[in-house]
């Protein structure tokens, strides 16, 4: 499986070349165009109940799509939002991926859907997160806006709605900016405080914020 990223930073899309017998795992509905003849198989997004939750509480798909090439073929995958793509190679612990940020991965990857409770709800992206594992396996992440990757050793404050992915060496809790004045007036209602050591991926735009800006401008 050979991958090429096109169109970054604003209209990132992914080209995947598959040899005979190879496959790629993609977000549901992400196929843009492909050589005819690839076999599509639906794969549950990690456990029946959690996939169900992801579908009905997270507004995401119940299934992911696995495309297998009987003969060498090329497939192009695209996210629904304008933004960037970035490939990540999984470390020993794998990664957590926020809803909407998963585009594609090697099919051998182990994938589960996890409910993160209140923390997830208040993270601004939704309560169901994907947990991907498989040391050395490749994942392609998608962001709304540019995709910022950084190595954290210590602490980092992240605004809600900007989270793309993080390594489990990091953990976060939901906080307020501290003090009633910044909480009310800084425009940063809730914040995520990450602590630990690992890679963190963030997006520079936030779709709920775009919608909140556009909504009041729509005619009644």
């Amino acid at each position: 499986m050979e991958t090429r990223l096109h169109g970054n930073p604003d209209y990132g899309h992914l080209e995947v070349r598959l040899e005979a017998g190879e496959a790629v795992l993609a977000e549901s509905g992400a196929m843009a165009w492909m050589d005819s003849g690839l076999e599509l198989r639906a794969r549950m997004a990690g456990g029946f109940l959690r996939a169900l939750g992801r579908r009905f509480l997270g507004g995401e798909s119940f299934f992911l799509a696995e495309y297998r090439a009987p003969a060498a073929a090329t497939i192009h995958l695209a996210p629904s939002l304008p933004g960037s793509l970035r490939e990540a190679v999984l470390g020993a612990e794998g990664i957590w991926v926020a809803p909407g940020a998963f585009l594609a991965a090697e099919p051998e990857i182990e994938l589960r859907t996890r409910f993160l409770g209140w923390r997830g709800l208040f993270s601004g992206t939704g309560p169901f997160f994907l947990r991907l594992q498989g040391p050395g396996r490749r994942v392609v992440l998608a962001s709304y806006g540019a995709l910022v990757e950084e190595a954290v050793d210590g602490e980092r404050i992240v605004d809600t709605g900007h989270l793309v992915a993080w390594e489990p060496g990091l953990d976060f809790r939901v906080t307020t900016p501290g003090g009633w004045k910044p909480t009310l007036f800084s425009g940063e209602g809730l914040l995520l405080r990450f602590r630990g050591r690992g890679r963190l991926w963030l997006q520079t735009r936030n779709l709920p914020a775009t919608a909140a800006w556009l909504g009041p401008l729509l005619p009644a």
Partner: protein, 228 residues
């Protein structure tokens, strides 16, 4: 006549320079600046053909009923055109043998000798989620098409499967049918690919990296419900 794409990328626009006696046609509403020496008029006819029905067909295809025309009479002038969505533009230089089929809304403008005709897609258009009509642009001169996102050109020799919403335009040597993405119908539907287009033949094909309906749905479900 000279057509240039400026600021290539997400916010591309086209600048058309007209010498006295020359004219240009565009989708209604596409002009965002022009020299006052140019005459602006509207028409439903292109390349000396068309009428009310072609206007209606264009409208059902996601384009405008009227077309705008820009004409330089006494002095040269420039008109600038821009599409609605952010994305790349491409200028295709057609000969009299060329014909391009543009999908809903991808047509931006063309030279005056190009004939624009809506082509009924029948059931294919309805079930695929594409439009009932595609717009065929036939004849010599420049043709400007617009994409949502990045624009990719493919030289088709054989077959290609394209998801609805990613097709911009294709040459006349190419035909398409509606089908499933691959594997069984059940797997194809569960995998999130409902109906796709299977293109076949020889010729050039333009694709866009992003699908406007997918973006619209992602944003739309966060907006307040429409009333009435």
């Amino acid at each position: 006549m000279q057509v240039r794409v400026l600021d290539p990328g997400a916010f591309a626009h086209a600048r058309v320079r007209l010498e006295p006696g020359e004219s240009f046609v565009s989708e209604a509403g596409a002009m965002f600046r022009m020299d006052p020496v140019l005459d602006l008029d509207v028409t439903v006819r292109t390349g000396g053909r068309g009428g009310v029905w072609t206007g209606l067909g264009r409208m059902l295809g996601g384009d405008s009923f009227f077309l705008s025309t820009y004409t330089a009479t006494t002095a040269p002038g420039e008109v600038s055109l821009a599409p609605v969505l952010p994305g790349e533009l491409r200028v295709l230089d057609g000969t009299s043998a060329d014909a391009w089929t543009c999908t809903g809304g991808s047509f931006l403008g063309c030279g005056p000798e190009i004939v624009l005709e809506p082509r009924f897609q029948g059931l294919k258009g309805l079930v695929s989620g594409e439009r009932l009509f595609f717009l065929e642009a036939r004849g010599p001169g420049p043709l400007i098409v617009a994409a949502f996102g990045a624009l990719r050109a493919v030289e088709l020799q054989g077959e290609l499967t394209v998801d609805t919403g990613h097709l911009v335009a294709f040459e006349s040597g190419i035909s398409y049918r509606i089908g499933k993405a691959g594997g069984s119908w059940v797997q194809s539907f569960l995998g999130g690919e409902r109906l796709v287009l299977h293109l076949e033949g020889r010729g050039r094909l333009l694709l866009q990296s992003h699908a406007p309906p997918a973006f619209g749905r992602a944003l739309g479900r966060l907006l307040p419900p429409r009333e009435g």
